[in-house]
């Protein structure tokens, strides 16, 4: 039915089966869009956020998807700048994932702010001291870069490339890709860092506050490193997942190993620095603000096990696994390690957002709890549905994995 759109030489499932796969996601997206409508039409009272829990599920989602979407910039950086040619096998997929993550995050931010129509204020009246200004500028610019990187993929579609000017445009864009990869890397370093700085500068939140190096708190650098570590792992994970769902090999096993090694080595550096940072925080920063660090872990289910899980269980352990050559021999173990690495970063973003806000600061404050409303959850899920849909269509009609063709004939 749509076979004329499917890239030559690739095998894709029948159109009805594709439709059956897509429809539930469309339904989920529809529910989410309705929730978005409710929030935009009636205001943020549709959420369960409040004056004390002013950031909720959405900000957590933004931090998470942007960290996981870091694979796009980091793979681009490794491929185009550091010339790691073997990563050409996943760069297209990485760009699509990056685009999904960033556009999803920006879309949710537009619902999250109280007055979306005033979004341009940040550009027109920027406060250069605010981490959020840096985040806003870099994310919007980088989303543009991602869109530019995505365009050549679309233009290479079988139907579109019949148009000569499209092909020419694609060719010209392709020549510029190094430049965009460079810009993307630069922007990404800053906003990944600023997202961490977002919490690190909060002197009023002793749980999150970290001392600054120059103008940036330590979380700035930790977030860059953790995103760079999680990115390749997430690319590994998604490539494997897609090949499982599509039931065909998409990348050669050595690409998995390369991604694993890159992710593992950065993760190891991150975990070590994170450990140092945590020790400094426990012994210096928190007491300096008048708080015992141990006291932060006395509430609800947020015990010190979180710290252990974040640094050792989902940090050090997957880092060592990813670096072990024995693990690298088994794709299954490699994928498990990558999933653990991603979970560690996801947990870190959760702790930074939710635990920071839940903990009391005033002597007479209580530990707060917050459960997102269905509108928040639906919006959250809509981003995931949107991602699956964009990826599904891209996978079906565009050539995301250049190795697929040769792996099939092999």
């Amino acid at each position: 039915m749509d076979s004329s759109l499917i890239p030559r030489g690739l095998q894709r499932t029948s159109f009805p089966r594709f439709l059956a796969w897509v429809l539930p996601w469309v339904a989920l997206l529809g529910v989410g869009l309705f929730a978005v409508y409710l929030c935009l039409a009636y205001g943020l009272n549709q959420t369960n956020m409040d004056n004390r829990f002013a950031f909720g599920a959405w900000i957590y989602l933004d931090l998470t998807v942007i960290a996981l979407g870091a694979g796009a910039f980091f793979t681009g950086f490794l491929l185009y700048i550091l010339r790691r040619k073997e990563l050409a096998a996943v760069i297209n997929s990485a760009v699509v994932i990056g685009f999904i993550c960033y556009s999803g995050a920006v879309a949710v931010l537009m619902v999250d702010v109280g007055q979306p129509l005033r979004a341009w204020f940040t550009f027109w009246h920027p406060n250069v001291h605010s981490m959020l200004t840096e985040v806003t500028f870099c994310i919007t610019c980088y989303l543009t870069v991602l869109a530019i990187e995505y365009v050549p993929l679309i233009l290479k579609n079988r139907k579109l490339r019949k148009n000569a000017s499209m092909l020419l445009f694609e060719f010209q864009l392709h020549k510029l890709m190094v430049v965009f990869a460079g810009i993307g890397t630069f922007l990404s370093f800053f906003h990944q860092g600023s997202l961490g700085g977002l919490y690190g500068v909060l002197v009023g939140r002793p749980f999150a506050f970290r001392p600054a190096f120059g103008i940036w708190p330590s979380t700035f650098f930790l977030f860059i490193l953790s995103a760079a570590a999680a990115g390749p792992s997430f690319i590994l994970l998604t490539s494997w997942l897609v090949s499982k769902i599509a039931r065909k090999p998409l990348v050669a096993p050595d690409v998995y190993r390369t991604l694993g090694r890159i992710s593992g080595s950065i993760l190891l550096v991150y975990v070590l620095l994170k450990a140092v940072d945590t020790l400094v925080w426990i012994n210096r920063t928190a007491p300096g603000l008048g708080f015992q660090a141990s006291s932060f872990y006395r509430y609800g289910d947020f015990g010190s096990w979180i710290l252990f899980a974040e640094i050792v269980l989902l940090g050090l352990l997957p880092a060592l696994m990813l670096l072990s050559s024995r693990v690298a021999q088994h794709t299954g173990w490699l994928v498990t390690a990558a999933a653990m690495a991603c979970s560690g970063i996801v947990l870190n973003r959760f702790v930074m957002t939710i635990q920071t806000l839940a903990l009391p600061t005033l002597p007479f404050d209580a530990f707060l709890s917050y459960v997102p409303s269905w509108q928040e959850v639906a919006t959250f899920l809509a981003v995931i549905a949107y991602g699956v849909l964009v990826y599904s269509f891209s996978f079906r009609y565009l050539n995301l994995f250049p190795q697929e063709r040769e792996l099939r004939s092999a």
Binding site: D50, G114, P126, N127, S130, L132, V201, L202, V203, L362
Partner: protein, 244 residues
């Protein structure tokens, strides 16, 4: 500003006066203590013992007007929060606010409030609005500005009389409304002012002094137990009974 906790009876007159002065709309249906617009609120802090041994103190709480390095000013992405060098007041400008709520996350005193609903006044009540303070819209943050409408009016009055603004020209609504005169307001930089005298007394303290935010709202109590319970680290004390 110095608030004498020994004088505060927890009557809440300051809360009402604040809401009336600053055009805070009536709470929308479904508002909880955590979603209301309470620029000023009175928190009751118990010592944790059960009746009849329990001892409580009422703490009127509003924006603490931190010093230069306020947690909220630097985080706002579009300069909707300012530090007024002239008065030392941390000012929130709802017309510039985008509603990202980063400032609310940053404030350790939870003195910032978000308009979760569109403001609505019962028919006829809009006639009682204060013309010196603009109403806000849904989706923006707001907080205590030490009654900026009164400050502006006082400035205009002083200008009309061709004289500089004098310390007694303006008092915030909460100060005026307090029946026990628990709140003293004035120029902390003027060593001869009443507020300076009150602030220099040894029984004054500030909330979360360790954070280094330098609040310009001081509290005082002759009771060492009260001072201790309001200055110790929350996170190290457990099972504190709190009623907002």
């Amino acid at each position: 500003m110095v608030i004498d906790l020994d004088r505060c009876t927890g009557c809440g007159a300051c809360v009402i006066a604040c809401a009336v002065e600053n055009n805070v709309p009536p709470a929308h249906e479904g508002t909880t203590p955590r979603t209301g617009l309470t620029w000023m609120r009175v928190v009751r802090v118990d010592d944790g013992r059960s009746f009849p041994d329990t001892r409580s103190v009422f703490v009127p709480l509003m924006c603490q007007q931190c010093d230069h390095h306020t947690p909220c000013v630097s985080v706002c992405p579009q300069n909707a929060v300012e530090y007024d060098e002239e008065t030392g007041i941390v000012t929130q400008v709802p017309v510039r606010c985008l509603g990202c709520r980063y400032c609310m996350t940053a404030c350790p005193y939870h003195a910032r409030y978000f308009n979760w609903w569109d403001p609505e006044w019962p028919a006829g009540m809009e006639q009682t609005l204060n013309p010196d303070v603009s109403t806000r819209m849904r989706g923006v943050a707001e907080k205590c500005n030490f009654c900026h409408g009164r400050l502006q009016a006082a400035r205009a009055k002083a200008a009309a009389g061709s004289r500089p603004l004098a310390p007694d020209d303006y008092q915030p609504a909460c100060v005026e409304a307090c029946p026990t005169e628990a709140i003293v307001f004035g120029d902390l930089n003027d060593p001869r002012s009443t507020v300076s005298a009150a602030a220099s007394s040894p029984d004054t303290f500030r909330l979360l002094e360790h954070l280094g935010t330098g609040p310009k709202v001081r509290y005082r109590s002759r009771s060492a137990a009260v001072r201790e319970s309001l200055t110790r680290n929350s996170v190290s004390s457990e099972k504190e009974q709190v009623h907002g």
